[in-house]
Symmetry: C2
Subunit: 309 residues, 2 copies
């Protein structure tokens, strides 16, 4: 069973134990959104794990692994337009790792904690015979009713991304900057549609937004996609890397058409902001437009589809 099938199945079962009004957004978005007691804020809750060999190589620096472990869920808090409050960290460390490795992991966590104001207030450390596994769980906060969600795109919205995409495997996947300030700015900006962070790759994550927003479609301009230098250094088509590599941890979001130019003119950050396409009413498909040709873009990259110039 795939992850999304599993999430679908979980969703069909409802949320046992939830009191009415508590859970504003449950499984399937970047964070869960909970009503806080005070009516001014909502709470964000998120857990995200790293497994050695899957999310980091055995030879990766433990400082970088610790940094990444906290920054991945921080990127989800950012995608919801929230601010982190605090984290707790579970670490099952392979028995062959030294105390020095564990301490450097902790230093990496602390570095991210300090940089992004997300103290690690507790944890659980075990030794495992398997790959080292680290799960960081974050509490965040956002203005009540203002969390940015995957499900709020509308036909006609302009699609944006921050930063540059592709090639994160060359190092950026261990050293990225979660877009917390950018997310908070978007949360307070009027006219934002859907938002998420790009972890599975632009092509796949666009499908997530379309799916969650009710089977919309979209059209992406191939020439507009901001391709990173790292993607250009990799063998193969750099556009394919930008569309499919994943682990970019940039924000992917939509803006009501009338507000797009205003967003661009008021964007206060050094990080790049790029219009890459439009949300359409048609069902669940992503078309990549290049030189007047529209190709169907599947989750794992492109395929030649029927022409829709």
């Amino acid at each position: 069973m795939r992850e999304f099938e599993f999430i679908d199945w979980i969703r069909t079962r409802g949320l046992p134990g939830a009191r009415p009004g508590l859970v504003k957004v449950g499984p399937g978005d970047d964070c869960a959104v909970l009503a806080a007691g005070d009516r001014k804020h909502d709470q964000l809750l998120k857990t995200d794990g790293l497994i050695e060999g899957l999310h980091f190589d055995s030879g990766a620096s433990p400082l970088q692994v610790g940094y990444k472990a906290l920054c991945r869920p921080l990127s989800d808090i950012a995608a919801c337009g929230g601010r982190p409050v605090a984290a707790v960290v579970f670490a099952a460390i392979n028995s062959k790792r030294s105390s020095q490795w564990a301490m450097a992991l902790q230093k990496g966590l602390a570095r991210a904690a300090e940089k992004f104001k997300c103290p690690v207030v507790g944890g659980d450390v075990s030794v495992t015979s398997g790959p080292t596994t680290i799960a960081a769980s974050l509490l965040g906060t956002v203005a009540a009713g203002r969390a940015l969600l995957r499900s709020s795109a509308q036909a006609g919205d302009t699609i944006f991304v921050t930063g540059e995409l592709g090639g994160s495997i060359l190092g950026r996947h261990l050293a990225f900057v979660p877009r917390i300030e950018e997310g908070c700015f978007l949360q307070s900006f009027s006219g934002i549609g859907a938002a998420m962070d790009i972890s599975d790759g632009l092509a796949r994550d666009l499908h997530h937004i379309l799916r969650e927003s009710g089977r919309l479609g979209c059209r992406i301009n191939a020439r507009a996609i901001p391709i990173s230098k790292a993607a250009r250094r990799l063998p193969g088509d750099s556009l394919k890397h930008a569309l499919g590599d994943g682990e970019d941890y940039e924000l992917l979001f939509t803006v009501r058409e009338k507000r797009a130019a205003i967003l661009e003119s008021t964007w206060p950050f050094a990080s790049k902001l790029t219009q890459i396409g439009k949300i359409e009413a048609a069902g669940s498909r992503v078309f990549l437009v290049s030189d007047g040709q529209a190709r169907l873009l599947r989750k794992r990259g492109w395929e030649h589809g029927r022409l829709r110039s």
Copy 2:
């Protein structure tokens, strides 16, 4: 490096990224305690993990594993006198497990969620080559300044435990009831000292309270210790099982001497409540008193120490 050495080292490093006033209790207690915005409540944050082969056998029912995964941190929320709000769960499932196993695990989580009013609002599911590893992270709530802590014992306090101890390996470690209602009652009862849940075994956990409360000592009455039927069924000395087995998930707490009888007379629960000894001013030692003889009780069980009748 042992877990407590690691926690000590983490503590010496402070809490990078924490704004002043946020963290009331950091690493080392059952839960972290955070100031909520509203002055009426504090927030509790906790993560706790299970590793196959260490916290459950490969043959354990996934329903029970899921139940235990949520109930372990629920027991920590109980130990702080709090109520659960919501949980997020990270699961790295061994690649040889079936979808049915993963679904039964989820059902076990849902069963605990429903029973203890702690909805699972999000998660992260991966496949791992190593042992199945599940970490549940909980947000809880408690009246501001009222969280029960390991550090609040005083010389003269009467020591209590709930329930019966030892032998949890025969099944109770997969099917225990976190003492949430009992913890909430204690939180509102005047005169409670320190509190924690018994996960490492009574002997070891008593040392944790003594250490966190500033190198106090204590004297435990061997005859008073409530020994479970399971402990009596196991080979060996049943008292040793009650002192050392661990995974009881009962509450261990202290009460100011004058309030002990009142607590006993007002205790409204079916679960057993037992006085087992007294906190003393002397440094960091646990004495087990039996037939007028006092033996030094080390963390891992008893040893013959000098007589202190």
